[in-house]
Symmetry: D2
Subunit: 322 residues, 4 copies
């Protein structure tokens, strides 16, 4: 469903080419100072504009519809709305017949019996992450004293990110990347046995971000090649500090007070400029086509702030649920 | 919380060294044929006994407490109970002072203010996966015509699994592994935008399995190194069959009718026979210690059936929620 | 929380004197024909204007923000927004010091530590029922073939409603009333044991309507005075038709195919024109005061369409959850 | 579904004539002292034995399966099991063909396509209230400093309860009654706008109790006949104490610190000793029949402790969710 969380509970709505996208946060504590300006930094980080991102200009100023009064949250549901101004729906007419490979066009048509808004991915568009980032801004305020930092650490298989991007621009083909996320200042004890481990709740929301294909915590897939005597993190003091951090800050699904650390795999943008093949429903043949519209060559560039937001949302919920 | 699912809803309970562990399934459709024997195959697969697994003998016959009448599910909650017969609580007295590295001893004590049942990991023990496997048996019956197959594909970094295990036995150190899971026969359209993507729901429950550190769908972390033109799976017919399957059977979070494929990273068993260091609460020093009790050298050997069960549960819920 | 339902899931937001109130419906099936005009009839019924209702003019045209495309629901979240145009916030400045008896002013201030938007009841205002009525219009479309009819059957203790209202206008004092609701065409089998009986789910949402103090199904409080041999409804055919309907269409919490029937008690509008007493926080004394603003003498007049909407929402959810 | 609550979350299971009934409480705080004896008083109150109750002897000693260690709750799920010892299934063979009027036999058969356990009402039996009462004992411990008292105030329309019962015994016909419930010591601020008002949450669980037909808070149905100037409770001090309590302790769905007060209508026991008529599925005719088995003439006698338990559960959840 389009809701997430038990206590800090999100409800997301909107389509890429509809009038607006938005999000409602239910369960946000009263008394948090909040103004429109608070959203600027993170929304700016999500915006396209850099090399390797789409030239589509998005306004991205949230309207605060409810839940804020006299500059503070009221405890009532907080709804944020982002109007969609700069959309070219005509680019998407062709999609009705030629489902784009790598996109959800085909499955959405099947699932919703042809009634889905197919323009620009509709409700499944990356456009909705603007609402997620805005909710993340509020979540970060709930997580006072806790810092969340995500960054792109690999682009197109290259640890030199700029080189990776340049290469993609040269080749005019989209690329993927890896985003690493670090959380410091977490209290011990977040996460709920049995089913709501820290990893369960974070991975749940991270996989809601379009283009994510994998997640690993701490040593992650590397752990599978290690020995127990290497992997176990020795506890060195009464606060639970560990000498190493292969666990990535979580034991038995519960935060242990050390740095929470995880990595996220992002696939190449499905909308590559390269010619591709797909099934044409009208001609009933596989045919070549070129994706129209303005797209990111490396969507992974814009993912870190979304990962931060998603992580903040998950942790705010775990903190308030405790 | 200790519940999972919206429609096929689990509630798990019990501790490793308490009287019993069990699970209640709420929302199981009426009319499914079910007897005690149906659980045998999967419970047998989870059992220790092979090289590299614990010699603790577990009975593992479920008592059907409710929800079955005249050999069929009734539509009322289905509760399964597993008595704990073969437990040696004395092995765990030392844990009160020396929290085992890699285990949840330390965080559970902090989270529950010292009231947690610390014996054998208590409620966070791998013992509870017996209940998960049993629920998986029921879930598989809900998923008629769908096959789920998980297997260990790497042990201790070795693709020759037996060699990996032999090496661990020689070295008397625990090892991790990688479990791959393949689902065939899924209808198009499972998964719910925005937050309940197939990957979100599966990863949520997979990370509830003790020792899991990572998950990747389809190309996974490999996707981060690919180009869009390589990665996109060309749709080749009206049913949505794709020429390749880098997506792993999911587009935009929704099943696309091709094989669902993912891989899970399992860390080395925390209870290695090797001597380790940890904080001693009484002496207030880091001290050497050796984990007592009977444990698996390679817990990953017993994980495939648990991954299958968790996957079946997640998919049954998505199918019934649709 | 501000959400209701499992499958047809509402999320409500907004304050009486903020920019807008609205509602998001998550889980509405795709393919339902829906236009702005569909809301007119029910929104008109909720509007003030009749004798005994407030002269505040509300626009009450929903903006469809998402979830509708080409005149049909898409299966994505459906968000409806109602702008608040005609608000006089100055009427409410006095409320900060003198919590109105019968209203939630005092408890909201305590619960939200003074951060709540107190103007016109804020998020707890009857204004939000405009969003509920709109969601009800969609719910009724989900309930094809099922008719829901609610009406005021008693005003100020008078079964002649007009006489009751006239009397209240004469006395310039607010009055309560009783709303009866009848549902026909329900299939057998709605309602989920143990906790989601038809009565549980309907009463849950009915008590979310401001001013409701009681609910009774079928014979209701009258049942307490009856004998078993009188009260039991004889089943007279294979379809489960009953000779009498003291049960009100529900047995063991599950719809039995006969008319679902219940009655709702509505208290007198708290904002009576009469002078009242309340605690003055500034003077720290009980003092006389008169409620300002434009209010309904008999709010019960506007409640039937809200009861219908709430009932439709509850039943749509039960129907889709089945 | 068979679960209730957000934070103090119940999951109920079992059938009247199966091996056991039980309940799991997820989210019970750690560190509450709890032994088997704590359940005795309330379970004793629920037991039959008095004039007007069934002679069926139930053991009603809970087995604590999980969640308690060293005499205290651990924070893990707390499961309580009650074995069913004294059941006469043969009494119910006839039910397959002659659905009892007033009971759920007919609707359960339809809903679960004939797979339901029909013996003694199966999962819909009043037997399950033994588990609810046990959960109530735990909930009351969560509500330290808060007292909940429910009592029968009317039986068969008679405020002299004993006379009401005697009359029923004489007539050999079952009767209903009214249960009043009073809660003192509640903090201000319980209840969550918009949908989880105190009344919403309490009525939700109260209507899960078999035989309940109505609920009213404070002035209840009487409010419909009152004037605003009479009904509004004047606030007389800074703590929110009111001069009268027509509100029944709740304003705008939120507890106001005064006594919470409500009344519950209980219908006559459906299993009256009198001869009745019902549809016979085999003969396809309406036929006379007499309910077999041992039943309560006035089930309302045993309801107060169940109402207390349900109320405690609802309030514990609201308190912990805050």
């Amino acid at each position: 469903m389009n809701s997430f969380g038990r206590k800090f509970r999100l409800s997301i709505f909107g389509e890429s080419h509809g009038p607006a996208v938005g999000i409602t946060i239910d369960g946000c504590p009263a008394g948090i100072a909040l103004t429109g300006e608070d959203f600027n930094t993170d929304l700016e980080r999500r915006k396209p504009g850099a090399a390797g991102t789409t030239p589509r200009q998005e306004e991205d100023k949230p309207q605060i519809i409810s839940g804020v009064f006299n500059g503070h949250t009221t405890g009532a549901p907080l709804t944020l709305l982002f109007e969609n101004n700069n959309t070219r729906s005509t680019d998407y007419e062709a999609l009705k017949d030629t489902p784009r490979p790598g996109h959800a066009d085909f499955v959405l048509h099947e699932k919703f019996k042809g009634f889905n808004d197919y323009r620009g991915g509709g409700h499944s568009s990356g456009r909705l992450t603007v609402a997620l980032v805005a909710a993340g801004v509020v979540a970060k305020k709930v997580l006072q004293g806790i810092t969340i930092k995500a960054k792109l650490v690999e682009a197109g298989g290259n640890k030199d990110i700029e080189a990776g991007i340049s290469h993609a621009i040269e080749e005019q083909d989209s690329i993927g990347g890896i985003v690493a996320c670090y959380v410091n200042g977490l209290p011990i004890g977040l996460g709920e046995p049995f089913f709501d481990s820290v990893e369960s709740v974070i991975s749940h929301i991270i996989f809601a971000i379009p283009a994510v294909k994998g997640i690993e915590f701490g040593s992650g897939f590397g752990a599978a090649k290690m020995k127990g005597s290497e992997h176990n993190d020795t506890i060195v003091d009464a606060k639970g500090t560990t000498a190493t951090n292969y666990a990535g800050g979580v034991n038995g699904g519960i935060s242990n007070g050390n740095e929470l650390y995880f990595r996220v795999a992002v696939k190449p943008t499905s909308s590559t400029p390269k010619e591709q093949q797909t099934w044409n429903k009208k001609t009933e043949k596989v045919e070549a086509f070129i994706v129209k519209g303005r797209h990111d060559l490396c969507i992974a560039l814009r993912v870190p702030v979304v990962v931060e937001a998603a992580t903040a949302i998950a942790l705010a919920d775990l903190l308030l649920t405790q």
